[in-house]
Symmetry: C2
């Protein structure tokens, strides 16, 4: 029995996520990991989910197959939430539930991209998106981030130079890995460019509700229906519900529906019902999300304070404004990939910038995740990093 050629071919076209491989190395108990990208399970509403599960399982309906676009009750509450978020009516037919927002990305890539189509991503990039666009055979061009998010002026230069993207992907709020948020004026301009040039914007927004001191700006989607919005309950409730969604024009949702049938038929009526229950319990939900925000804000501030106090101007890092990540650059030429083995030896892990690099190398950068350690541990982590970098 021999490996068939197609299998070998497919393997060559894909890369395992660098973060996943790294996580395997950083699972040692004596290492404080700032390398993960996981929300804190201790902050997830376990007891409320248990109540919702018990209530859902009072009837047998949640055990059956459900509709490919998702349980109607869940789509209804998400349509209402998206309507409030983007400031125009999002009909239920324009909400499609996916198995996490990663599946929305993957089905959208199939629907919107032919091999060789141009996709614009941010640099540094969300690797889950990069993996999907690469697998779709897209041509990928990166536009850098600055402290106001995607450099929309660089995108505009590309358009003026004749580039014709099919899709522009942006993590608009509290970027993974970049930590920054797209400024309101850039959002408006990005939407205008999408309409003028006929490309789709995929606004990937898993972190928007995890703001610390002030809410995230109006979504890019609030400026144009040419913007497909993705989000999920993974960061505010629990990843194990596997509930993500897209808010997209009806014809996009119907094309995605055909693909969803072939991909996995439908989602879980049980986890959809649990998510719908929690999302409609508004008073509880507001208080719950607020408690997650407060915990993450305290951790993010502790991390950023420790970095700034310890490294002063040797490391420049983003503000702790929301989300799960801080992006930090050594200003003295320290190579973060070369530093990593020493950091692991000192008992701290992070993800080197190179793991997220598309055009730039981000050789002096690193992504630091603050979600799963408390303030004292985060301070200790930065102490260890300082000793490794000495």
């Amino acid at each position: 029995m021999s490996l068939t050629t197609p299998l070998a071919g497919k393997l060559a076209g894909l890369q395992s996520s660098a973060i996943r491989d790294l996580l395997k190395l950083t699972a040692r108990a004596d290492v404080i990991s700032l390398a993960g990208g996981l929300p804190d399970a201790a902050l997830m509403p376990r007891e409320r989910i248990a109540v919702a599960a018990e209530s859902a399982l009072a009837g047998a309906a949640v055990l059956q197959y459900t509709e490919s676009p998702g349980l109607p009750a869940l789509r209804a509450v998400i349509a209402a939430r998206e309507t409030a978020r983007i400031g125009r009516t999002v009909p239920v037919d324009e909400v499609f539930i996916t198995h996490g927002s990663q599946q929305a990305l993957s089905l959208l890539a199939e629907v919107l991209l032919d091999p060789g189509a141009l996709v614009i991503v941010e640099d540094p990039a969300y690797v889950g998106a990069l993996q999907v666009f690469r697998a779709a055979g897209a041509r990928i061009v990166a536009v850098p981030l600055d402290s106001d998010g995607m450099r929309v002026d660089v995108l505009e230069d590309l358009l003026i130079a004749g580039e014709r993207p099919a899709v522009v992907h942006t993590v608009s709020n509290f970027h993974n890995p970049g930590g920054v948020t797209l400024a309101p004026e850039r959002r408006r301009r990005l939407a205008e460019l999408a309409e003028a040039h006929g490309f789709w914007v995929i606004e990937d927004d898993p972190y928007g509700e995890l703001w610390f001191d002030q809410p995230a700006p109006d979504p890019v989607a609030s400026y144009s229906p040419q913007v497909i919005r993705l989000s999920s309950v993974s960061k505010i409730l629990a990843p194990a519900l596997r509930v993500g969604w897209m808010a997209a024009p009806d014809r996009v949702c119907r094309a995605v529906e055909l693909l969803k049938q072939g991909a996995d038929l439908c989602g879980s009526a049980l986890t959809h019902q649990i998510a719908a229950d929690l999302l409609t319990d508004t008073d509880w939900l507001v208080a719950h999300i607020d408690s997650v925000r407060q915990a993450y804000r305290a951790r993010a501030n502790a991390l950023v304070d420790a970095v700034r106090t310890t490294f002063t101007d040797r490391v420049r890092c983003t503000d702790a404004a929301g989300g799960m990540f801080v992006w930090a650059d050594f200003t003295d030429g320290t190579d973060t990939s070369a530093l990593l083995p020493k950091a692991l030896e000192a008992g701290v892990a992070y993800v080197p910038g190179a793991a997220f690099a598309v055009s730039d190398s981000y050789r002096n950068s690193m992504r630091l995740c603050f979600t799963t350690s408390d303030e004292a541990v985060l301070a200790a982590a930065i102490d260890r990093l300082a000793s490794a970098a000495r």
Copy 2:
């Protein structure tokens, strides 16, 4: 804003499932539907699942992201069950959990098929597989079923004529839609041909445990590691767990793992844990599956008896041996697609054979599902069918 060309192109390449569209028409309360393909929710172990959910939610671990190949505890119990089923050791690394076995099919098509690759399916075919293989751009050739399952001699003729399939797909037990089971000698021969010609067999086995009077024969996979086995808990526990799996050589599982990361990252640790709990509760499980078998056997017998008594030699139908479906042929030239509107008027629905046709037209055939009606209702359904066909 205009529909982009790729979207229109993708749409042209896909067909919505004829069954799904039909189901929308047959949801009327006054219609007895034999058209569905759903297991009976009333037979699903709702209370046992509620206990398992409560137990799983005693800890926060089940709320987090899990590994792409599935929760280790679930993979372990399935490896043990597959080992017992196929009679050789299936290591945990060769078990990969998917979002229902439909996702296993869809990821395997990506891994094993290049556009234009030849896939052999059965005629009539499982439409979920057909949809996946068509979307993958495969060339599809059908081999007919008879009362002993796939005509492996016809497959052999194709191989002698020089056809070189990459994949042969078979629903080996209690075929959907054909109702038949592949005979043991044909299983052995199919496995020999796979080894001799280097193709993969995908043995799609969601119904194997739903036998009525005698267990299904040894799996095709028991004869060769060139056979990838798919199954799920959807028909024995509940579809909403969205737990399917493949048992496949390690290099196939690793290729699927890369695709799974891009497709949707991972499954739900919560529903995986619930499934693992139920599958390891052996005494309970044996009794539960037995009760489902007994209920379906009584329904299947009632349906088959009613068809044979009512139509005598005007309709020939498969025996009630297991699974969820009976396949029936009008021997007098009655066109089942033409009959359907009259049948709906008389208050009964079925799926015309044409919906499953690949090469043959199956114009005089129909698929009857017996899972969700009791014996009296099934008898009434056949009465209505007889009046429509008069």
